[in-house]
Structures are given as C-alpha cells and as structure tokens.
C-alpha cells in the first residue's frame, strides 16, 4: 500500500511508480460541504507545484485545488462530472481528481505524512 502525503492546503498525493494521484482530504471535503461540481484540467496540462490544478465547487463556494507537486496531468476522474458527491463520500478513493506524471519526486519531501497531517488538522480547531 502506497503512502499518502498532504499539503497544508489539504490536498493529498499518492505515488505509485512514476504516477501520482491527487485529491482533497476528508477534512477538506467536510469543510466544503456538499460538492456539486469539479472543474478538472485537460490531460496533457503541465502544472507547477502550488499552482491551481482543479477547482472544486460546493453549494456555497468555489475553491481552488493546488498541485502538491509539479508534473503533467495524465488522467482526470471523469466520474466526478456526473457524480461530484464522490468527493464527499470517498475523498481518498473514488473521489480522486487527477493523475500526474511527476517532474521531480524530491518535491514530495516537504509534504506532511499522515501523522503530521493529523496533528496539523487537530491544531486548526
């Protein structure tokens, strides 16, 4: 099982070989509330670490999702176009946003592991 790493902006990234999957954390989906739309990029789009890779819209508002690492988008989760609520029901699984081919795996070193992220979220309350 591959490990998850998190950003301070509540994105997660999971690396399998050269490809990484990106989504938002259970905490993030809970803060957003009901997700009603996800604006996903076109495959082939190159994204820099910390820049917008997608936009998630809840009933209330639109929020940017930032890339946890640089790379090229190789796949997007098309299921979200008809079932955006998967982001709420399964944020770490079926609610993933994009898959990326990473440009520089060393960028992951600065991200939080599960324990660090859990402590970080706890500190937000």
């Amino acid at each position: 099982m591959s490990t998850l790493r998190y950003t301070e902006e509540h994105e997660w990234i999971r690396v399998d070989g050269d490809t990484a999957t990106i989504g938002i954390s259970p905490y993030a989906q809970e803060q957003l509330g009901d997700v009603v739309f996800v604006d996903l990029p076109q495959p082939g789009k190159k994204v820099e670490k910390g820049k917008e890779v997608a936009v998630v819209e809840s009933v209330k508002a639109a929020s940017e999702v930032y890339a946890p690492a640089s790379g090229e988008v190789v796949a997007v989760n098309g299921d979200l176009s008809t079932e955006p609520a998967k982001v709420n029901s399964d944020p770490l699984g079926a609610g993933w946003f994009v898959k990326m081919k990473l440009a520089n795996k060393a960028e992951l070193d600065g991200l939080m592991d599960q324990a660090a992220y859990d402590a970080y979220v706890k500190g937000l309350h």
């Binding site: 902006e9 009603v36 009933v59």
Partner: protein, 371 residues
C-alpha cells in the same frame, strides 16, 4: 484549498447555544455568529424544507415598531409601497429608497392595528434605524425590538405543525398576521417567509425562544436549517438578497420589483427617488434583473460577467447550485434588450464562456397559502 478564519467579536442570537448543541457549523454573517449548516448539510436541509418543514433562526434581522400619529402615512415618505391602504393584520414587502431611487434596504411591513411592525435586514438595521430616526415626523415613535427573537418555520407541512400549538394558524393566509399563543407565549406571527414555501415568521420574546424552538424541533417533520440552505431556497424562489441583487445602485424598477409599488404611489410619488422611479415606470430601464439558467453543471457565481455577441451585457448578482433543480441557478442584471425569457448568453467562468439562457423566475414554483 484554504481554511476560513475563526470568528471573533461577533454578536450572537438567543439560539446560539442551541445551534452549537445541534452541531451547527457557525460562520460570521452580518456581524453575527450564525449557523451556515447543521450536520445534515445544505443539500439535505434545502430538500427537507421543500418536502417537510425547516426551522430557521432569523433573530439577527431587525424588528421594530412604528407607532403614534399615522405611522403608515409617515412610512410612505420613505418607501414606494402603499402602506396607508394596508388592512389591519396584513403584511407587505417594500424597500427603503434613497433620493436617487436606489435601494437602501428591503423590508416587510405589517399593519399590527395600533402600530406598524417592520422586519429589516441584519446588515442594514443600524442604518435603517438612523434613517428612520432622521426622517420620521415628530409624532411617530420608532421602537427597536432587540429583545424579540425571530423564527422562520418554512415548508409544505409548516401549517400542520404550527396548528398543533395554535389551531388558528392553519387558517391564516399568505401575508397575513396574528397574535398567537404558542406554548403559552404570546407571539406575533405572519404567514410569510423567504423560501418560496408556505410558512410562518414568528416573533417571540428572546428568553422564550429556545424552549419553543426545541418544541418545534421535537415535531417529526421539523429539522433545523442553516443560512446556506436559506440562500439556495431564496435563490430558487427568485427572491432578492440585499447587498447582492439589490443595493443603492439598483432601482426597484431595474430589480423587477414594480409589483411591490402601489398603483396610487406610482401616480402620486412622494417617496425618495420618486422622480427616477416614475420615469423608469414610464420609459423603462436600460437593464433588468432576470433569472439565468446555466446549461452545464458548473455553478455561475455572484460577480460573473455575462456576454452575448462578444460583448459584456450584464453581471450575475446571485448564483450557485439549486438543490431542487439539481443544477446551477443564478440571477443578475442584463441589458433590457437581452432580458427576454430564452435569450442565449454566455457566463465567463474562470476564463471559459459557458452557455446559459435567461429564464423565468421563480425557478421553483412558489407554494404560498392563499386560502
């Protein structure tokens, strides 16, 4: 993703502790720490209100009383509605206008017999009180009612629920008022609300509101509803939100609120900005508030530019997701020539031109009880 800052220095309503106990997510709104949603979430709360009954805490809104020498005549110097002809225990929607014909606030006015009862927006209430104080004639007394809480009970089963406490509630018609004894407490009740559904607004002494709110929540049809669903419900109902759809830059005619201006008032004038409003009634306006139905699934939010034929023709003033429609809904202002139902236009969302069309308001059929 970014997190919101914690709230500080905010006012609270008498139901604050109950909101916390019910697990509400609290947000700052109009200077108050208010429930935006409860654990059920905005979608479920919205749909519950359309199907059964939602209980809203609207105690942040301003309640006040005008009494003394002919308060209806005095109020007509500040609003374009016909208040003098308002029958006892009847309610009417109107706006405070300014000298330019812009809207200072929108409000509900009830003829309570020996006085007028007003409900104004939370964000505007201090300014409204100052405005009234400065403009009302000496013989009219304005009394703010800060010790009164306000509940909105909304939904198709609201009448059945309230009739358990006071059977006469069921016979009240839309926009009528009554003093009802609810759970042993004298309450001033109007059959109105701001969701497009049948329902009531209940003015109740602050110290009695929590006990009564709990009694209402004990009824199987009733669930607590936050400001998130209140906003999506009023948007689907095509109702204006002050500060978004109407403000000092919009006139009641542009805002398509002509129905709220009495026939006599249109002819006679005598309210702030009457010259502009009477001219607009005769000659029309350059822009108009309309419903906008985006064709895709992407919500089109407040501030979004609307274009047609390659040029800007208007702007969205309220927009989001309509849970009852299962898709995005919006409203905003467009050039009058583009205001016809069915008119195609495009909404510029994150640099993309998304197809949309002008649609009739309300998006969801209203369910008022007219007797």
């Amino acid at each position: 993703m970014t997190s919101s800052a914690p709230s500080a220095d905010l006012k609270t309503t008498p139901l604050h502790a109950l909101h916390r106990a019910l697990g509400a997510k609290m947000v700052p709104f109009a200077g108050y720490d208010m429930p935006v949603q409860y654990p059920a979430g905005i979608l479920a709360e919205h749909l519950h209100t359309r199907a059964a009954v939602g209980l809203f805490d609207v105690s942040h809104m301003g309640q006040l009383r005008l009494s003394g020498a002919n308060p209806a005549r005095a109020l007509e110097t500040l609003v374009p509605a016909d208040i003098v002809s308002l029958a006892p225990m009847r309610q009417r929607y109107t706006q405070f206008t300014d000298e330019n014909g812009g809207i200072l606030d929108d409000l509900m006015v009830t003829n309570a017999g020996d006085h007028l009862f007003l409900v104004v927006n939370a964000d505007c209430k201090d300014a409204d009180l100052a405005h009234l104080k400065a403009k009302l004639p000496a013989g009219v007394t304005m009394t703010p009612l800060p010790d009164q809480a306000l509940l909105a009970l909304q939904g198709p089963k609201a009448a059945a629920v309230l009739a358990r406490f006071a059977p006469e509630a069921a016979a009240m018609t839309f926009m009528s008022a009554a003093t009802l004894t609810l759970d042993g407490v004298a309450c001033f009740v109007t059959r109105s609300g701001y969701t497009g559904e049948d329902g009531y607004e209940i003015s109740i002494p602050a110290e009695k509101v929590e006990a009564f709110a709990r009694r209402l929540l004990d009824q199987p049809e009733v669930k607590p509803i936050g400001l998130g669903a209140r906003d999506s419900l009023r948007l689907e109902a095509g109702l204006c939100l002050y500060g978004h759809d109407i403000d000092t830059t919009t006139s009641p005619v542009e805002a398509d609120l002509v129905w709220s201006i009495g026939k006599r008032r249109r002819a006679e004038g005598g309210f702030p900005g009457a010259a502009r409003i009477q001219r607009e009634l005769k000659e029309g306006t350059g822009r108009k508030r309309v419903g906008i139905l985006p064709e895709g699934r992407a919500p089109v939010r407040d501030g979004t530019e609307l274009i047609a034929g390659g040029r800007a023709i208007g702007k969205v003033t309220s927009g989001g997701f309509g849970p009852s429609l299962g898709g995005p809904v919006a409203m905003g202002y467009v050039e009058t020539g583009m205001a016809k139902i069915g008119q195609s236009l495009e909404a510029m969302v994150r640099g993309k031109a998304l197809p949309a069309r002008v649609a009739a308001l309300p998006f969801v059929k209203t369910n008022y009880y007219r007797g």
